[in-house]
């Protein structure tokens, strides 16, 4: 496997360092050749930077990609936004040689060159494609059979598809495959592909952001969902933090929000606190308790066996 740099992004390092923790734990246990490198900046965040200055958006992303190109690494990120933004710019420059030349003229003055040779992947498709379901299954100590999971893909894990090319952009499968490989049931629900709506918080429309979160949480609650699983810090902010704020106002959903690497870590035998899950706003204990209760139940085969061997009362 080719070495890869991890692009942590601003949100994880600023607000959710525990996501970095569980990601590192999982990468280590799989002995994956990941590297931390100097020099990254914000990816940059599209809705803030691109709306104000497309040129700044392009050169900043191109410079970040140039850093990995130079080292002949690939790039993997646990943030959907970062990968999507970097890949969008990579795609734009590859399709547009004149623009690429313009950008490289600027980059040259700071000693860099955008080539676009490195592969840019989000962690979930990376685990699916590069690590593989087989390798994952071998690492599982205790699976999630009996647990009902609502996956939230996060728009930018899979879109824009012309730049990311990693799954069906409207009916993706890979995250589902991974969750099923961990033994859980991945619920199919109406609002599954709906955008989290966190962007509304960034334009000073907090109530509307809550409204978007509420729609999905309500549906998941009605389906008896044990946890929402996702892999994007913005979506996490939306469903963990904003759900907590609604709970404080008396609107309780009780849907724990679990990062993909946390779920994987649990299955591999790590404790919730080791993975930093005690730092979530919405309590994850009900999920863990139910899971433990399910797994201390004797296997179904035993019950049948016991039934067969029981004395017959005629």
């Amino acid at each position: 496997m080719k070495e890869f740099a991890v692009f942590w992004g601003c949100t994880i390092q600023t607000r959710f360092p525990f996501i970095e923790k569980s990601t590192r734990i999982v990468l280590e246990s799989f002995k994956l050749p990941y590297r931390d490198i100097d020099g990254f900046t914000c990816c940059p965040e599209k809705s803030l930077v691109n709306n104000i200055d497309h040129g700044a958006f392009v050169v900043t992303a191109a410079r970040n990609v140039a850093l990995v190109d130079e080292l002949d690494y690939d790039l993997v990120s646990p943030c959907t936004g970062c990968v999507s933004n970097l890949a969008t710019v990579k795609g734009e420059l590859k399709a547009n040689p004149r623009e690429k030349a313009e950008v490289n003229k600027l980059l040259k003055e700071v000693g860099r060159e955008f080539k676009g040779t490195s592969k840019l992947q989000h962690l979930v498709p990376f685990f699916h494609d590069t690590v593989g379901v087989h390798a994952i299954k071998q690492k599982i100590k205790k699976d999630f059979s009996g647990m009902r999971i609502g996956i939230h893909y996060g728009c930018h894990m899979i879109r824009p598809s012309h730049a990311l090319r990693n799954d069906d952009p409207l009916e993706p499968k890979k995250f589902d495959t991974l969750i099923s490989a961990l033994g859980a049931q991945s619920l199919q629900f109406m609002t599954k592909m709906m955008c989290c709506g966190q962007g509304l918080d960034r334009i000073d429309e907090h109530d509307r952001a809550l409204h978007f979160a509420r729609i999905k949480l309500k549906e998941l609650k009605s389906l008896g969902c044990d946890a929402m699983v996702l892999c994007c810090p913005s979506c996490f902010l939306q469903f963990d933090n904003n759900q907590f704020l609604m709970e404080k106002e008396g609107e309780k959903f009780g849907i724990p929000v679990i990062y993909f690497t946390e779920l994987l870590g649990l299955a591999m035998g790590y404790k919730p606190e080791e993975l930093g899950m005690d730092l979530h706003r919405v309590d994850c204990t009900p999920f863990v308790k139910k899971w433990e209760a399910l797994s201390t139940r004797p296997p179904r085969e035993d019950a049948i066996e016991d039934g067969l061997n029981a004395p017959v009362d005629l």
Partner: protein
């Protein structure tokens, strides 16, 4: 140099289509959000009236419209172009402005949470590229000015 622009030929087709309206989360859940009206106004030369509207910022950039669009265009491109024009005129939500300023100043949208990292046993964060980024950003601005003012006669 490197500007977002409107594509009128594609927008003409949009005005006869509207397919993405049915998949757009903002169209579904935000009353009054309807890029079809915006596009019609752009085509009629009245894009100005949307520049101060909240609606152009309510596009979540989820790219659903882009994916189902037979032109691979998407409402969002029109909304992005309008946001860019509005931002140039200084009309944008406060948080967008704040985020942009922090980005230009620090090259990031926040600094690593050091005490929490320590508690979690995370390694020291790697050096950021802030200095190089600042240089690059200055170069971009200079290149633009040169393009607008090739003779070097005064700049803004």
């Amino acid at each position: 140099m490197l500007e977002a622009t409107l594509n009128f030929k594609l927008l003409e087709q949009c005005s006869k289509c509207g397919a993405c309206f049915s998949i757009c989360p903002s169209c579904m859940h935000i009353p009054g959000y309807d890029p079809r009206a915006v596009i019609q106004d752009i085509l009629d030369g009245n894009h100005d009236k949307w520049l101060s509207s909240r609606h152009i910022w309510q596009c979540l950039e989820c790219h659903h419209c882009l994916e189902i669009c037979y032109q691979h265009y998407g409402f969002e491109n029109a909304m992005t172009a309008l946001r860019t024009i509005a931002a140039k005129k200084g009309i944008h939500p406060t948080q967008v402005k704040r985020g942009w300023e922090m980005f230009v100043k620090t090259s990031r949208l926040g600094e690593p949470a050091l005490p929490a990292r320590k508690k979690l046993g995370l390694p020291e964060p790697k050096a950021s590229g802030a200095e190089e980024f600042k240089k690059l950003f200055a170069l971009l601005k200079a290149a633009r000015e040169k393009q607008e003012n090739p003779e070097g006669k005064g700049s803004e």
